[in-house]
């Protein structure tokens, strides 16, 4: 279930390897290019094969999975998905996850963009302290915060609630999102804001009607990035969402995997994994270009 997240992180070195031969020339670089192609092909197989195998297995009947793990299914068992969705309650977990993510993504983008806008465009005493405070949050391992976080959320009466998890997700996503969007807002032309000031717009009108639409590529990039990250989040819901009815997908899947050890319904387990992965895959495939465009726009000019 962590595969898509791993891919986003590993994509960067792959891109670097791909570009290296372009800079050089001659026989050496041709060999280099060939090697790179082989490495990349191997990489692609290593990433794609488990995924394909998972999807294929999700369509097999249980005896088939154990007796002939490498063959294609004799007959597609769509029933596996139905059982995973209803009996294993993956459908329920799916909607829990969507609900939490809808709140946390909207919150993350709103709060981060407002903070980043101010940090990028308004000089005030202590601005750098605030900015580096957020950046420092990037380096803080979430494991260290887990115990105090549990008590904090519990004291607030938010343990096991959607809104509690949403708040924690937002806080968890702020550092990088603010860091990124600050750089992004700095690239936007000053004059557009000044033109809006002269047109009589208030700071809120400028932000919501002018700057936010201009920052759309950055917001989309951060939306996708945080979607992938928050979708794959396991540790936080595990600690903060003890109510079985409100489990998120990652928790639910873990729960299911443990349970399947006793029930021997491997088909449903693989179907559940497939269901879990599909949204991230869809988002990534659909928005990959925009993600790259947004990330590089910030990186090059920021």
């Amino acid at each position: 279930m962590n595969a898509p997240a791993i891919r986003t992180v590993e994509e960067a070195p792959a891109a670097l390897v791909r570009e290296r031969p372009v800079a050089g020339s001659g026989v050496g670089s041709a060999t280099g290019a060939g090697l790179t192609q082989i490495l990349l092909a191997g990489w692609a197989v290593a990433v794609i094969f488990p995924f394909v195998w998972m999807v294929v297995t999700a369509l097999k009947a249980d005896p088939e999975i154990l007796s002939s793990p490498w063959r294609l299914p004799a007959a597609a068992q769509w029933d596996n998905f139905a059982r995973a969705w209803t009996q294993a309650r993956i459908g329920r977990f799916f909607f829990n996850t969507l609900l939490v993510l809808a709140g946390s993504l909207a919150g993350t983008l709103l709060v981060s963009s407002m903070a980043a806008y101010v940090l990028a465009r308004f000089p005030f005493p202590g601005r750098n302290v605030v900015f580096y405070g957020f950046v420092a949050g990037l380096m803080f391992p979430v494991f260290l915060a887990l115990v105090p976080l549990y008590f904090l959320v519990d004291d607030l009466g938010l343990l096991g609630t959607y809104q509690g998890l949403i708040l924690v997700y937002i806080a968890y996503s702020l550092p990088f999102t603010i860091f990124f969007l600050t750089a992004f807002f700095k690239t936007l032309p000053n004059e557009v804001g000044e033109a809006a000031i002269l047109d009589g717009a208030s700071q809120y009108q400028i932000f919501f009607q002018i700057m936010l639409p201009l920052a759309k590529p950055g917001l989309i990039a951060m939306g996708i990035f945080n979607f992938l990250g928050q979708w794959n989040q396991f540790l936080l819901p595990l600690v903060l969402m003890p109510d079985e009815n409100r489990y998120l997908l990652s928790q639910g899947l873990y729960f299911l995997a443990v349970q399947q050890g006793y029930q021997n319904d491997y088909g449903a387990l693989f179907a559940a994994m497939t269901i879990t992965m599909i949204p991230t895959l869809v988002v990534y495939v659909l928005f990959q270009r925009r993600l790259e465009a947004g990330l590089t726009a910030g990186a090059l000019k920021g």
Binding site: P189, E191, E194, L198, L214
Partner: protein, 367 residues
């Protein structure tokens, strides 16, 4: 429509040694087209931004009409500005760009539409109203920026080098259009440019700035004929005024074989200063070709034939120039230009010489 007054307005940027704008005094009449011109870093854009309210005023005051606006926020000043890069809102259509200020002001949709249509008709933008700025050419974007200013019907237009992103031909064309539009609307306009040709052709009056200080303000003709100091003399006019260091004699200055006569008042002024030399300025068109011995010898290095005019660039034979490297420029007969390398003899037409003090740089006037 309104008058605009800068009253000793000063802007000192934090951490900077001297003020960006230093005690600027300027009275702009109702309906006037005033151009602020100067080299980069002279404070012309800062002055404009102070008027717009985008820059603080550290000392002095700014008035629009009868109202003191020195510390008012921009939106309470009732002015519209055209930016160098136009600063259009990229995500809005042309119509929305032009109507944004009206929408913010809470005007009804119907009225916004009517006013945007009117402005679009004036600027010939009618067919582009639904397009995004991205889908427009540079000239069209410039007109949208103008349109955004005129729909508001403000007290004053502020323009910050609005033509510098256009190509040369379009710039000349748009220059005329903006000047004509301003005459037609009669709105007080402050226009910033570094291009003295734009300043001369567009402005009712031109204010020349340098190092944050106002050098001179006057009609283009005034600035050209009677520059207050060496800087204005050299800055206004294209090709530029020739500036030569001359040693003073009893009745004038020595230039070539014959002394250039100077008016008594000028000589007296130089004498009170105790000066032994002065800066002599003359426009390229202020010379005439004379027989050898009647003027100063001039060695032609390059000849530029422009059709209607010809300019000869060269050196004064046996005479040091103001900075030693720039060639002098003279206008010669377009039909019979001198050859390269030829030495011709020139004389400055009487009364067309400008004499500047070398100590203060000020123009010394006979009257």
């Amino acid at each position: 429509m309104s008058t605009i007054q800068f009253d000793a307005a000063t802007r000192q940027f934090p951490g900077s040694a001297r003020p960006a704008v230093d005690g600027l005094n300027l009275d702009i009449a109702d309906g006037e087209f005033l151009v602020l011109v100067g080299p980069s870093g002279c404070g012309k854009s800062t002055s404009l931004r102070m008027l717009a309210g985008l820059e603080e005023v550290d000392e002095g005051a700014i008035r629009i009409g009868d109202r003191e606006v020195t510390h008012l926020p921009p939106k309470e000043r009732d002015i519209a500005m055209v930016f160098q890069n136009y600063a259009l809102y990229p995500h809005m259509s042309v119509a929305d760009n032009m109507g944004f200020a009206l929408k913010i002001a809470g005007m009804s949709k119907d009225e916004i539409r009517t006013r945007v249509k009117e402005a679009a008709a004036i600027l010939d933008l009618g067919e582009f109203l639904d397009r995004k700025p991205k889908a427009l050419s540079g000239g069209q974007r410039q007109r949208v920026a103008m349109g955004r200013a005129i729909v508001r019907n403000p007290q004053a237009f502020l323009m910050d080098e609005p033509l510098s992103n256009l190509d040369a031909k379009l710039r000349v064309q748009t220059r005329t259009q903006i000047a004509a539009l301003q005459r037609r609307l009669g709105t007080t306009t402050v226009y910033v440019t570094h291009d003295q040709v734009e300043a001369m052709t567009m402005g009712d009056r031109v204010a020349v700035l340098k190092d944050g200080l106002l050098q001179q303000v006057g009609t283009p003709r005034d600035l050209y004929d009677r520059p207050d100091n060496v800087f204005v003399g050299g800055f206004i006019g294209s090709p530029a005024m020739n500036l030569v260091r001359v040693v003073l004699t009893t009745d004038g200055a020595q230039l070539g074989e014959r002394p250039v006569p100077m008016k008594r008042g000028v000589r007296a002024a130089l004498a009170t200063e105790g000066a032994e030399d002065a800066t002599l300025g003359f426009r390229p068109e202020s010379v005439e070709v004379v027989a050898p011995g009647q003027g100063f010898p001039f060695e032609v290095v390059v000849v530029e034939e422009l059709g209607s005019d010809s300019f000869a660039y060269g050196n004064l034979v046996g005479h040091g120039q103001e900075d030693g490297t720039t060639l002098l420029t003279v206008r010669v007969d377009a039909r019979r230009p001198p050859a390269k390398g030829e030495v011709i003899h020139l004389r400055i037409r009487e009364g067309e010489e400008h004499v500047f003090s070398r100590r203060t740089g000020q123009r010394l006037s006979a009257d």
